[in-house]
Amino acid sequence: MQTTGKAKEFRAGRKRQLFLRRLSPLLTILLLLLLWQAVADRQIIPRILVPPPADVYAAFTTALADGVLAKHTMTTLGEMMYGLLFGVGVGLVLGYAIAKAPLLEYVLSPIIVAFQSTPIVAYAPLLIIWFGTGPSSKVVTTAVIVFFPALVNAIVGIRSVSPPLRDLMRSLNAGPWRTFRLLELPAALPVILAGLKTSATLAVIGAVVGEFVGSGSGLGVLVIMARSQYNTPLVVVTVLTMTVIALSLYGLVALVEWRLLDWQRRAAS
């Protein structure tokens, strides 16, 4: 196809816009860093409360060099991964079952809603008593907190499958497995992936809450240890590590979404 000069110009303009949009979050971060440095330089707030970026960076390299950061990060990551696997797994399967058998919803919803609306921080100690101070109790806190978005989005996703398409599958004599693979799963996928994004960010909260309540290792423990030693830079480093983990996990799901939902982007453009 021939592209005219005007169309090219238009496309270049759109590309520039897109580039600026991608750049803007980085600019925000840069601005915050500058502000932070300025506050530290002028000693507006004591160093012990807001350590300057340089101190935080020093704490970061130290923690990296002596392996403290890596060790605790690995613990937390492991707890999160297993927690996600169980929580999301059970959530999706149960969500599918509830979408198919509405009676189940009546039976289970009191328990599910109770679990969801009671603050996890409040009953985390119970989970520690039951599952011990090792990683398994954090796997449970994570699983409990990531379970709900997975469940709800699975229910909504499967229920949103269009009845005429169900008729089509029936008229083609598609069995339950083919109906699931060719209709229900792809139709529900956008909603399920949206839920997975929420679950991914919640996973960090689940693991860290568990670690706060009682644990020997993990980023939550590192925060408590650093605070008790008045090592504020290390506290900041640990918190930022959690942020990076949460963002990466979110990004990972977003990437999967981007790959799988090509058709939605094409339809929107």
């Binding site: 398409l165 008729d167 004599n173 209709l183």
Partner: protein, 253 residues
């Protein structure tokens, strides 16, 4: 395939708890290879009747038979075209048309070969990788039609397939339907509320009453085939259309 409809009634549960009669009782027969149009006002139960014939909905009373056998399950050898295009938005044109073959267990190269053979007849050869949202209404309906043809069905059950299209596109697609059918004969039952469409396409028009739809008239259309767009201006065509309109107006009075 021939159909026999015997005193079929369909009632739907109404909000108040009682039953809302949606269709019938209605009885008629459809012979092998016949093209029958079900014509009636909207809400008269035409689509419900198609669902019964397809084996998707059990009637509340009466029975429908296909080749002498009671229809209880979705019919093998019957293909349905739904009111809206009813395509899967996440599948390309190629994969949408290939869906019935995939469900039948055909391998990917085999089913793509079968679909690609069909695309030129449907004027879709440059769109096999497009998604439904990227197609015009007429093109999407042709994809939907392709999904019917690829099954090589012995019965086509068409539920107002072109209702959402503008008049010109609709006429063009109706005639395309006749052309695509001509190669090997099948029984076709088409639901419509358009008198001209019914007369232009059918061997026989069954006029239905308002809800609950009953049989008002059963009119044979003995216009010569192949049918052409110009025929709608011919005297015989106009006579038939007028007769059908008369049947519809009689029951309004």
């Amino acid at each position: 395939m021939r159909f026999s409809v015997e005193n079929i009634e369909v009632n739907f549960p109404a909000p108040a708890g009682d039953l809302l009669p949606a269709l019938g009782p209605i009885s008629f027969e459809v012979a092998d290879d016949q093209f029958v149009c079900l014509l009636g006002p909207s809400g008269c139960g035409k689509s419900t009747l198609i669902r019964v014939l397809a084996g998707l909905l059990p009637p509340s009373a009466g029975a429908a038979y296909c080749d002498g056998e009671l229809i209880q399950h979705p019919l093998a050898g019957a293909a349905i075209m739904f009111q809206d295009t009813n395509l899967m938005p996440w599948r390309t044109v190629l994969d949408n048309i290939a869906l019935p073959l995939e469900i039948a267990g055909m391998s990917r190269p085999e089913r793509y070969r079968a679909v690609r053979k069909l695309l030129p007849q449907l004027n879709l050869e440059n769109f096999e990788l497009a998604y439904p949202a990227e197609l015009s209404g007429g093109m999407a309906q042709r994809v939907s039609l392709g999904r019917v043809i690829v099954q090589q069905p012995r019965v086509w059950l068409l539920d107002e397939p072109f209702a959402a299209l503008d008049a010109l596109t609709r006429e063009a697609l109706s005639l395309e339907l006749l052309r695509l059918r001509a190669r090997s004969l099948q029984t076709i039952i088409l639901v419509t509320h358009d008198i001209n469409e019914a007369v232009l396409l059918a061997d026989r028009v069954i006029v239905m009453s308002r809800r609950p739809g009953r049989l008002v008239a059963d009119i044979p259309i003995d216009l010569p085939r192949p049918r052409l767009a110009e025929m709608i201006y011919q005297h015989e065509f106009l006579q038939l259309a007028k007769q059908i309109r008369g049947c519809i107006e009689d029951q309004r009075a």
